[in-house]
Symmetry: C2
Subunit: 321 residues, 2 copies
């Protein structure tokens, strides 16, 4: 019986939350993670479940990837693969393009090649709104083009989508590509709230903000993200590749609002120093409006707005200070 | 003075034709080619020009790529890079995805990384209608989505587009992405006419055709293709990345018409054996309609229809039988 769920990147922020959900659903889970950005500490409680196994593995290494997938496939059968392993640091990839090449694209490439011989049915991929690049004020639905990502991060997410799509033509039965917005929650490993927390911890009197604060983006709580993905994967039986944006119903909040909210919750009087331009970093898309119409048409709805998600995530992580 | 033009894949079908045009324009040309699909024989006449140099180099090898680009950049200055090096055999890439990964994507990745430190201004990339995947009867203009290629060939062209786009955000001044249709002409190295010629040569009594003959595609003569690219590159000064479809004005011809035309010109009575389905191979997009409106708005126009291009290409290659 094929019943194992492989979660690549399962020790990361989103992966940890997904593993937890899979345990609730009594699935047999194999976590593959190189612990470069994820942390074994995140899995401490989860690994107590007899149904969860952890394998340290660098999926960018073709031979390691192939050998671990083969072991799981032969011994347990693989029903689904969730590929959440990736570089999550956009700026690191701008300085050194090989970061996104190896951590994001080659992990996808190697996973697909390893799964091919075992006839795995379902492949789920964590893509990103970054594949859209900077299309100004156009509302981003799944069909817009041209796709001209402005970061290597976005480029290697798009490259991964493309190779998954090609696999569906030749051997892969079903693939789901989910384009994530900014996702917040616990355990934060990167992103604006993590950045603020790290900075306030090292200097309680000064908060240096990337960009001039006018950047306006949507934020989704990781709980809503996981519920969206599971909803679609469990409901949709169409073969071939399906793309879904996942996002809240609103058009987002700007960075200044997040700064105020953060300082309020932290009861901080820190001085705030903003950057000069509306780009927080090279490859940052300062403003975008997202469409979640397609996934809502499938019957899923977010439970939080961007503001609610951010507020909750700040509170959830405050203890880890 | 920066005046060297680097043509990666310059010993291939399209590359050879481009080199020839660059000689007419009295440009200093450096051809980089690993001769895996190109042939030094194609360059025999062209290399007589004192302005043309040939360097055998596998651009998928990062160190080789970097070292050759550095030599040219330091000694001559590089003004433009034309990246035409790629796998051209879609079927080979379906069987072994590493073919398109290395020959198409990693050549792009390494070229960009090598050029970064030399501040090269213009990068021209040979992309493909294959990035669109199979969008049925939608007219393919540069803005349609989603982009779900159905071959690794198309996937790695799209991945290349994406990484070029990201480079434009961080250091590259100007990039042109040209999406080619089927291109015909001399010296044919692959494609339907090359396939027919090879088969008729090995067995003059039987022509086995890939697919049922109903596939309908557009064909552009390589002369029109080169004139389109040069027109745009010489005219457009907008920084950043620009995408252009290149194609004829018509909606193409079907394979049955090409078979008849081929046999007529070859004065052949060979029996014709068609395949069973409308896909010539896995990853074949059997029918698509292309828009060339964007490039025509720039003032370029094709001189041949698909039929004229095919007829001329059959005649041009008949001597090489």
């Amino acid at each position: 019986m094929k019943d194992a769920v492989v979660i690549a990147g399962g020790a990361g922020f989103i992966g940890t939350n997904l593993v937890s959900k899979m345990i609730e659903k009594q699935r047999k889970v194999f976590i593959l993670d190189d612990l470069s950005r994820g942390a074994i500490g995140h899995l401490h409680e989860l690994l107590k479940s007899p149904e969860v196994s952890f394998i340290k593995c660098n999926l960018a290494n073709q031979i390691d990837c192939q050998s671990e997938i083969k072991n799981i496939a032969v011994l347990h059968g693989i029903s689904e693969v969730w590929h959440l392993a990736a570089n999550s640091d956009i700026q690191a990839g701008t300085g050194d393009p090989s970061v996104d090449l190896t951590s994001t694209f080659l992990t996808t490439f190697n996973l697909l090649n390893s799964l091919r011989q075992f006839n795995v049915g379902t492949f789920v991929f964590a893509s990103s709104s970054a594949v859209y690049g900077n299309l100004g004020d156009r509302r981003l639905n799944e069909d817009v083009g041209p796709l001209l990502p402005i970061s290597n991060y976005g480029a290697m997410k798009l490259a991964s989508e493309a190779i998954i799509s090609a696999a569906c033509e030749s051997w892969l039965k079903k693939a789901f590509i989910f384009r994530f917005p900014n996702v917040v929650g616990k355990p934060a490993t990167h992103g604006i709230l993590f950045d603020f927390q790290r900075k306030i911890k090292s200097n309680p009197n000064l908060l240096k903000v990337l960009g001039d604060g006018s950047q306006k983006k949507i934020y989704l709580h990781v709980e809503d993200l996981i519920s969206a993905m599971l909803h679609v994967v469990e409901k949709i039986n169409t073969p071939n590749v399906q793309i879904y944006n996942i996002g809240p119903d609103d058009d987002g909040v700007n960075v200044r609002w997040i700064v105020d909210e953060f300082l309020k919750i932290y009861k901080s009087n820190a001085e705030v120093e903003y950057g000069k331009t509306n780009k927080g970093w090279l490859g940052d898309v300062p403003v975008y409006t997202y469409s979640n119409m397609k996934i809502k048409a499938e019957g899923w709805a977010p439970t939080m707005t961007s503001q609610q998600a951010v507020t909750r995530a700040i509170c959830e992580n405050i203890d880890s200070l």
